[in-house]
């Protein structure tokens, strides 16, 4: 098995074109104004999508940037949810600190997995991380004294100073803010020396070593960062969701996030973000067609794999370029 195909070998540094800039500004205005003109239900879906965006960005770092297979993302996400909720509940840590704590615990576990993963690659790495994910779900379900085991854990409402968050609309500005912070962080990492070393490892570990890149360090840091971001997404989840059950942290969640990243466009930050939003929305919209939703979802995936194997955004970019050149 070779490294996964990616949308591009290097991040683009071009300034945004006019239409793209207008689109971005419009998206920001819609995102900021969303709670004003929609119901709490729509805001709940938006919150969930923003959490998925952060989860996908975490997975993007390890798979898209570094080319390492990881199937343990739901586990890191779960660690973040449980760690932040428990820290908030047990020692009454202010919620933003509890979120950071969740990210740090998940990141530390990710670093450990990164060390273990050094001797593995491709399918072996995928299997090892899959086994870790399954083991963590077992821990969530059976460590009764800490996680409340199979009964699930009630998450106390988050508190930011005097503000107690009791609704999706109250949570939304915080969720949006944290999501934008993680997007900014991911872009910064991608454009940094560290990001370049990740991509060098992705393209060829031998060539990267020849260039003096510490491949071992890059792989470990990549796992740690990816896990920390997933853990932070877990903390964000606790901002608006009041309950977590181990059933929600299994292989299905990992596959969902993996699908979002791959179909959005592997190796592209925009792809990870777009994949999360588009597939999150498709999933929600398809609930209205229960008899056919799995068929429709499957058909969409097959069509993407056939006609947009480099991902949704690369596909759209190609069509725009073709249109501009009159083809």
């Amino acid at each position: 098995m070779s490294s996964p195909p990616v949308a591009s070998s290097a991040p683009t540094r071009r300034a945004l074109s006019g239409p793209a800039l207008i689109g971005l500004v419009a998206a920001v205005i819609v995102a900021v104004a969303l709670p004003v003109f929609t119901s709490g239900y729509v805001v709940y879906i938006a919150n969930l999508l923003l959490v998925f965006v952060v989860l996908c960005l975490g997975l993007h770092i390890v798979i898209g940037e570094t080319g390492q297979f990881s199937m343990a993302h739901a586990a890191f996400y779960g660690i973040g949810i449980y760690a932040s909720a428990l820290a908030n509940r047990a020692v009454d840590l202010p919620y933003p600190v509890a979120m950071l704590f969740g990210a740090i615990v998940a990141g530390a576990v990710g670093l450990f997995i990164g060390v273990l993963a050094l001797r593995m690659r491709d399918i072996y790495l995928a299997l090892a991380t899959f086994a870790f994910g399954e083991a963590m779900q077992w821990v969530f379900a059976n460590w009764d004294s800490v996680t409340n085991g199979p009964n699930g854990l009630r998450i106390s409402p988050a508190r930011f100073g005097p503000i107690e968050i009791l609704s999706d609309k109250q949570a939304y500005p915080f969720v949006l803010f944290f999501c934008l912070v993680i997007i900014g962080l991911t872009v910064a990492i991608s454009r940094s020396r560290l990001g370049r070393s990740f991509r060098a490892v992705r393209e060829s570990e031998v060539a990267a070593m020849a260039m003096g890149i510490d491949v071992r360090r890059a792989r470990i840091v990549s796992f740690g960062l990816s896990a920390a971001i997933a853990g932070f997404a877990g903390g964000m989840f606790g901002l608006f969701q009041t309950f977590i059950h181990p059933d929600s942290l299994g292989f299905q969640t990992t596959i969902l996030v993996l699908t979002m990243v791959v179909v959005g466009g592997l190796g592209s930050i925009a792809g990870a973000i777009g994949g999360a939003i588009v597939f999150g929305l498709i999933s929600e919209v398809l609930r209205q067609a229960p008899q056919y939703q799995e068929i429709i979802y499957g058909a969409i995936l097959i069509l993407f794999m056939m006609y947009a194997p480099r991902g949704l955004f690369a596909f759209i970019g190609d069509r725009i370029r073709e249109a501009r050149h009159g083809r």
Binding site: S39, G40, Y41, V42, Y44, I45, L48, A141, N142, G149, P150, N151, G152, R154, L166, S167, D168, Q241, T242, F243, I244, H245, D247, S248, E284, R287, Q288, P290, Q291, Q293, E294
Partner: protein
Amino acid sequence: MSVNKTAAGLTLAASLLIGVAAGAQEPGITDKAIKIGIFGPLSGPNMAYGFDVVNAAKMYYDKINKEGGIHGRKIEYVVEDDRCNANDLVAAVKKLVEQENVFMLNGGSCSAAVVAAKDYVVRNKVPYLMLNASGDGALFPPTDYIFGAYSISQYAVGGAMVEFAAKQFGAKNVAYINHDDAYGAWNLEGSKKDAEVNGVKLSVESINPGINDVTAPFLKVRAANPDAILLVTYARPAALLIKKAAEMGFNKPIILSVTGTASLNQLAENVGKDALKNFYTQEVMIDSPGGAKLKPIYDMYKAAYPDLAAKPDHPQTYMPYGIPPAMSLVKALQDAGPNPTREKVLAALKTQDFDSGVMAGRMQFGPEQRAANRSTIFIKYDGTTMAPLPGVFTSRWTYQAK
């Protein structure tokens, strides 16, 4: 017109206006309709737990509408798919409450998922009646807004099984195989009370629901030389264990919980008839699925869904479970009077006590009781014939605030 008549007329007009205004303040109520939100798994791997249960609830509401509705109002329902998944269920509930503006909720077939909606429902003070989810995590400790376990509470499942083993077979040493999940923890806790009262020793073996090889747990429980084996598991481990017991020559009674199979015919095909020589299954309804006492429900289904009824294995086993929660909702609305408010409906629910004619026990709520049914019957099944045994067995476990 006399002064008295004028005063009476004005009083009547004022009452009507107050009534309309009071009704208008409540979401989901007009002078012609009451809007309720139904949700359940209509797709995905857990669809069998809820698809026909939702259909049953809908056909009951349609029947009430044909009979004139409730105090002149028709029931208008909106249905959402919750996929038995916590995030999807919460999305469905929020959509029904905030976008569809329903008056009350009636839904959920999966216990872990319904618990996720608990805080939201309580914060927003929406009356919520579960469908067939046991939902123990949302029912205990009790809240003012959530009512359920119309089929049965998981706390009551194991307890009633221990009671049956003790009374029917005089069992003193019972092997108890449950899951290492929420279901398993809840029903074991309920079982301990009945075991204590009946002087029954429980030899417990908790297994993972995804287990593939049951040899080790079976050998462990057999080593305890039990008088009977109680299987409080889902379908797959149950089938594996029943088959294993036959292979190992175990000939004492095997009693399967209601969660253990959605189709007894399928179970017989999976394990073979020889494995069912001394086999009993728990049922929470008054009769075996499709039995004579449930005929009116099955006839109603055939009339409401002729196309579905013509398909093999339809209606699905759990179909009648949708009737008692719908009856409870209708009864609470009727008891709340011609100008229902959420608070009036909740007050009516808290004292509700009726015989559904579908479930083995009465639907009873109380000051600390939000789980309606605690009773079961048992059926002897030999792979061909379902023979309900006489008697109703009830769990003794009751909620104690910690």
